[in-house]
């Protein structure tokens, strides 16, 4: 149980700067997911918290105590690696007990903790087996068991599910979330998969090019993305962006590409003619007579919903409908964004313009 705080943390590898002053706080017991495209610095940040990378500048504190110069083993944190990193010459039981053995723990306590962890993870039938005799999912569970046995202040996960197949990934996702609800240990979880982030996190930290773009709960990020990057990164299929100008004289509106008229609930003050980006999520389109005309290119039914790719003012957009329309390519439809759910971003800075 612990809090973690990053204070203007920077990291350089030689002349290359990969983290440009990252600051945020993690509350006790929180499940925080660091998410971002590859190369955004999320893994580096996690490894710095783990003590596997030096901190170039700034401070990292666990429970209010700065740990910049504290060795990994004294930070009381446990990490689950993407590649599992199990000791191949030790049995599952020995793998889990290794850290306790190094700490010269009482054999009785050791057996108890391994027993408890293996029960939680359903690993007790495999304690005497070697990692090579286990499946990928089982190995990942052993790696988690190794972390649980330590009973650390903070759990770190570095893309733990990336090596698993799609079905197992979904199952393990639930398992990790359940585990966190049970143990309530502060957790920092790194992934590049925004769905993993959305489904698991209490708080998501979206990173891009070494800076934090936004931190918030999954729904905050989904409903009010702070900028165009977060808006495009969170949500699948991704948000549609249409460039154009804000109309604020008279009733608010937006002039999209090729003069397409799009509705806007309210325009920011003094924004007449402001170049902006109009963002609308695929699920926020409806078919309406007063919508903008669009020509269907491709229809992709998935069963529960249908994705429709269409040209709107010359730009490709995607709309998702739960109801079953009889569409075929070439059809003209009228798409209307729900004005109350539309996002508006500054074209130059990418910052959010509406509330």
């Amino acid at each position: 149980m612990a809090t973690v705080s990053f204070n203007t943390v920077e990291k350089s590898f030689g002349a290359t700067k990969v983290l440009h002053g990252v600051s945020f706080d993690i509350k006790d017991g929180e499940f925080v997911v660091l998410v971002g495209p590859s190369g955004c610095g999320k893994s580096t940040l996690l490894r710095m918290l783990a003590g596997l990378e030096e901190i170039t500048a700034g401070t990292i504190a666990i429970d209010g105590k700065v740990v910049n110069d504290v060795e990994s083993k004294d930070r009381d944190i446990a990490m689950v690696f993407q590649s599992y990193a199990l000791y191949p010459h030790m049995t599952v039981g020995d793998n889990m007990a290794f850290s306790l053995k190094l700490r010269k723990a009482d054999p009785k306590v050791m057996a108890e903790r391994v027993d408890r962890a293996s029960k939680i993870l359903n690993l007790d039938p495999y304690l005497k087996r070697f990692p090579r005799e286990l499946s990928g999912g089982q190995r990942q569970r052993v790696a988690m068991g190794r972390a649980i046995v330590r009973d650390p202040k903070v759990f770190l996960f570095d893309e733990p599910l990336s090596n698993l197949d799609a079905k197992l990934r979904v199952a393990m996702r639930t398992e990790i979330k359940e585990l966190h609800q049970r143990l309530k240990t502060t957790t920092v979880y790194v992934t590049h998969d925004q769905i993993e982030a959305m489904t698991m996190a209490d708080k998501i930290v979206v990173m891009h090019d070494g800076v934090v773009e936004q931190m918030g709960t999954p729904l905050e990020l989904y409903d009010t993305p702070a900028n165009q990057f977060v808006a495009g990164f969170i949500g699948s299929p991704a948000m549609n962006f249409l460039k154009g100008k804000v109309k604020s004289n008279g009733s608010a509106g937006f002039e999209g590409p090729n003069g397409v008229k799009l509705p806007l609930a309210s325009a920011p003050a003094n924004s007449e003619g402001l170049p902006a980006v109009y963002g609308v999520r695929p699920e926020h389109f409806t078919i309406a007579d007063d919508g903008a005309e669009a020509e269907i290119i491709v229809v992709e039914p998935t069963g529960s919903e249908t994705q429709v790719f269409a040209k709107l003012g010359g730009e490709q957009v995607v709309a998702v409908f739960r109801e079953r329309h009889q569409f075929s390519p070439g059809d003209k439809i009228r798409l209307k964004p729900d004005p109350s759910l539309v996002h508006l971003f500054d074209e130059a800075t990418g910052k959010r313009l509406n509330g």
């Binding site: 083993k73 990490m79 590649s83 000791y87 190094l102």
Partner: protein, 280 residues
């Protein structure tokens, strides 16, 4: 069995038979001499009329002036070879761990410099080595040969072990570090167990290199009670009337331990020990 497999087998035999003859011929001659009585040893027969084990009896009971110290020299060979094997392992494992896992600054350069010494033939280094050992007062001391052989075996051993170390996933070190292992614990509890196959291979290499060494053994040791069996074998040729059958018998005996060592350790030299460590 169809024609394809027959033809594959035939091709293998076509290669296999000459290779077998090529390797077995010297051994056949060794054995032929060893079981021939003195008078028919050089008779040119394919098999002696009266095969005998008399030569072995003479060698084992040291009943020839060339063989006065046979058992002692055998022991010398063994103790020197084992010492070289063990010392090389200690030096090379430590170096490989430092270079490959601890990433000691300049480690790679050191290794490359050490490997560079192989550009100079061992024969050229013989005299400098002799002088060096003289400076340290180690001439006529078996340590001189042990140290010389470790010097020769170490660069290659370090290189082999470093290559093998590089293949161990780095995450294992990081996991151990997170679990609270010090570098020494990492070395002992994670690194050494995983390196076992390579260690056996390298140890065997150094051991056999020392066992088979002639030049340095001949140069650095001179007393009959100190020399290795290999050098003693060479001394057989000092006279014109060399007892060929005894030389060959001793040679055959001398060749057996390496074969035994090879077969004893072969089963440890298997790969795949890291299977299951990381997703590959």
């Amino acid at each position: 069995m169809n024609w394809r497999t027959v033809s594959t087998e035939a091709k293998l035999l076509l290669i296999g038979i000459p290779v077998l003859i090529w390797t077995m011929l010297p051994i056949y001659h060794l054995v032929l001499f060893a079981i021939s009585p003195k008078e028919s040893a050089l008779g040119g027969q394919l098999w002696p009329d009266h095969p005998t084990l008399q030569n072995f009896r003479i060698v084992f009971s040291e009943q020839h002036h060339y063989l006065d110290h046979f058992w002692l020299q055998m022991w010398n060979s063994l103790i020197i070879a084992v010492a070289v094997g063990v010392l090389t392992l200690v030096v090379a494992t430590g170096a490989a761990f430092a270079i490959s896992r601890l990433k000691v600054r300049g480690g790679r350069t050191m290794m490359n410099l050490a490997l560079f010494t192989y550009f100079i033939p061992a024969a050229f280094l013989a005299v400098p080595m002799y002088k060096t050992m003289g400076v340290y007062g180690l001439l006529n001391n078996q340590w001189s040969l042990i140290l010389a052989m470790v010097t020769i075996a170490a660069p290659y051993s370090i290189w082999v072990l470093k290559q093998a170390s590089d293949k161990l996933p780095l995450e294992l070190d990081e996991a151990a570090k997170m679990d609270g292992a010090s570098p020494l614990q990492l070395f002992r509890l994670v690194y050494l167990p995983l390196m076992t196959p390579s260690l056996v291979a390298v140890g065997t290499y150094a051991l056999l290199l020392a066992w088979n060494e002639y030049l340095y053994a001949f140069l650095l040791l001179s007393r009959d009670t100190q020399i290795t069996l290999g050098v003693a074998l060479g001394n057989f040729l000092a006279a014109d009337d060399s007892p060929w059958e005894l030389l060959m018998t001793t040679g055959l005996i001398y060749a057996l331990p390496p074969a035994a060592i090879y077969y004893a350790f072969k089963r440890y030299m298997v790969g795949g020990l890291t299977a299951g460590a990381v997703k590959s």
